[in-house]
């Protein structure tokens, strides 16, 4: 393995790295003050709590077609941090960011489930990728403004009966769009130059799922939690089960009975049954008795299966409604 001499030197003395990082934090503070990020974050918090974009002057200006503030925000960020990383190539820009062969994205500001992102897609790299096979619908709201570059896209809409309708369109600088991610997804077909966009994302509340469909025939390929909190809770429930934490059974029973994602609730129910048969079975019976609960049918089937396997459970089962 070859190590760059600058990286090798850091093994014995990390002071240059710390200095570089300190410098980037100073740049971050200065940029936040210049760009009014605190004000934007307070508007993002209001947006996440349900305020309409039109009532938030800073954010709505960023997504107004003729307003110069979006370009000023992006230019100010790029100029300041490109210069800073140029001076200290080992520093990490202290904002969430992601880079691969095709895409670069940085989160400029975030509050709750709302975030402002600057994204770039490299057209030449995109052309080397194989054509996309699937499209995913994430239940989130996206406002998008094209700052530079242009693209050919396919807009894919999902109707109630999961039929994918595909339409070709173009993205050009200055375009502003709003998309309900649960019903509409974009597939980039080609990009001329580098497509730079400013995006405002409002993520779905807990319980929703992202669905991925095959473009060719609209078959459901995969579904996943649309909010990281659901996955965190599911992992915590599994961990409590493996640790044999019987004291957690009442909390898991409550999770299973709450309104929330069906996947998370079912896993909480399974773990609860494993930890405390009585508490888990009571939750199972309560869910099976709710006619409007999406888990009522599988819960009823599981109750019948458990009573057949363990007849003792029939003694504590309430009469089915």
């Amino acid at each position: 393995m070859e190590l760059h001499p600058a990286l090798q030197a850091l093994r014995s003395d990390d002071a240059p790295q710390r200095r570089a990082q300190g410098g980037l934090y100073a740049e971050l503070d200065a940029w936040r003050a210049d760009a009014g990020i605190a004000g934007l974050e307070s508007e993002l918090a209001k947006l996440a709590r349900g305020a309409a974009l039109e009532t938030l002057p800073g954010l709505s200006a960023l997504f107004s077609p003729d307003d110069p503030s979006a370009a000023a925000l992006a230019d100010g960020f790029v100029a300041r941090f490109c210069a800073a990383v140029g001076r200290d190539p080992l520093g990490q820009v202290p904002l969430r960011h992601q880079l691969d062969d095709v895409t670069a994205a940085v989160m400029l500001a975030r509050a709750g489930d709302a975030a402002l992102l600057l994204c770039a897609v490299d057209g030449a790299a995109l052309a080397r990728q194989s054509a996309p096979l699937s499209v995913s619908f994430a239940p989130s709201q996206t406002f998008e403004r094209v700052l530079a570059g242009s693209a050919r896209i396919t807009r894919v809409s999902r109707s109630a009966i999961v039929e994918l309708v595909q339409a070709g369109e173009s993205l050009t600088p200055g375009m502003v769009s709003h998309r309900d991610g649960a019903r509409e997804a974009l597939v980039l077909r080609s990009v001329t130059g580098t497509l730079v966009t400013l995006k405002l994302h409002l993520r779905a509340k807990a319980g929703a799922v992202t669905c991925e469909y095959r473009l060719a025939d609209g078959a459901l390929l995969h579904q996943a939690a649309a909010n990281p909190r659901d996955s965190r809770l599911e992992l915590a429930a599994a961990l409590l089960g493996r640790m044999g934490r019987r004291d957690a059974a009442p909390m898991l029973a409550a999770m299973a009975e709450e309104a929330g994602g069906a996947g998370l609730r079912w896993q909480a129910l399974r773990e609860c049954l494993g930890l405390d048969t009585a508490a888990g079975f009571a939750a199972l019976c309560a869910i099976a008795a709710r006619p409007d609960d999406p888990l009522a049918a599988p819960a009823g089937a599981l109750r019948a299966q458990l009573i057949e396997t363990y007849p003792a459970l029939a003694g504590i089962a309430p009469c089915p409604a």
């Binding site: 710390r18 990082q21 980037l24 934090y25 990490q92 820009v93 202290p94 904002l95 969430r96 960011h97 895409t103 994205a105 989160m107 992102l117 994204c119 897609v121 990728q129 194989s130 996309p132 096979l133 699937s134 499209v135 995913s136 994430a138 996206t142 991610g181 997804a185 974009l186 597939v187 980039l188 995006k199 993520r203 992202t210 991925e212 459901l220 995969h222 579904q223 996943a224 939690a225 649309a226 659901d230 996955s231 599911e234 992992l235 996947g263 998370l264 079912w266 049954l273 494993g274 930890l275 048969t277 009585a278 079975f281 599981l302 299966q305 458990l306 363990y310 003792a312 459970l313 504590i316």
Partner: protein, 49 residues
């Protein structure tokens, strides 16, 4: 009453499984259209602060 001990792993899953946040069958482009990538990133800079 003596109740049986149930093995959680023997209990059935729902018909359609829900994967963890950010999981996809064909990652490719789907990540371009939402904020998953930026949420999943590793917080390298926070370790360096």
């Amino acid at each position: 009453m003596n109740l049986p001990q149930i093995d959680a792993s023997s209990l059935p899953d729902l018909e359609t499984l829900t994967g963890v946040f950010g999981s996809l069958a064909h990652p490719g482009q789907a990540l371009l259209s939402d904020d998953t990538i930026v949420i999943l990133m590793v917080f390298v800079y926070e370790c360096l602060k």
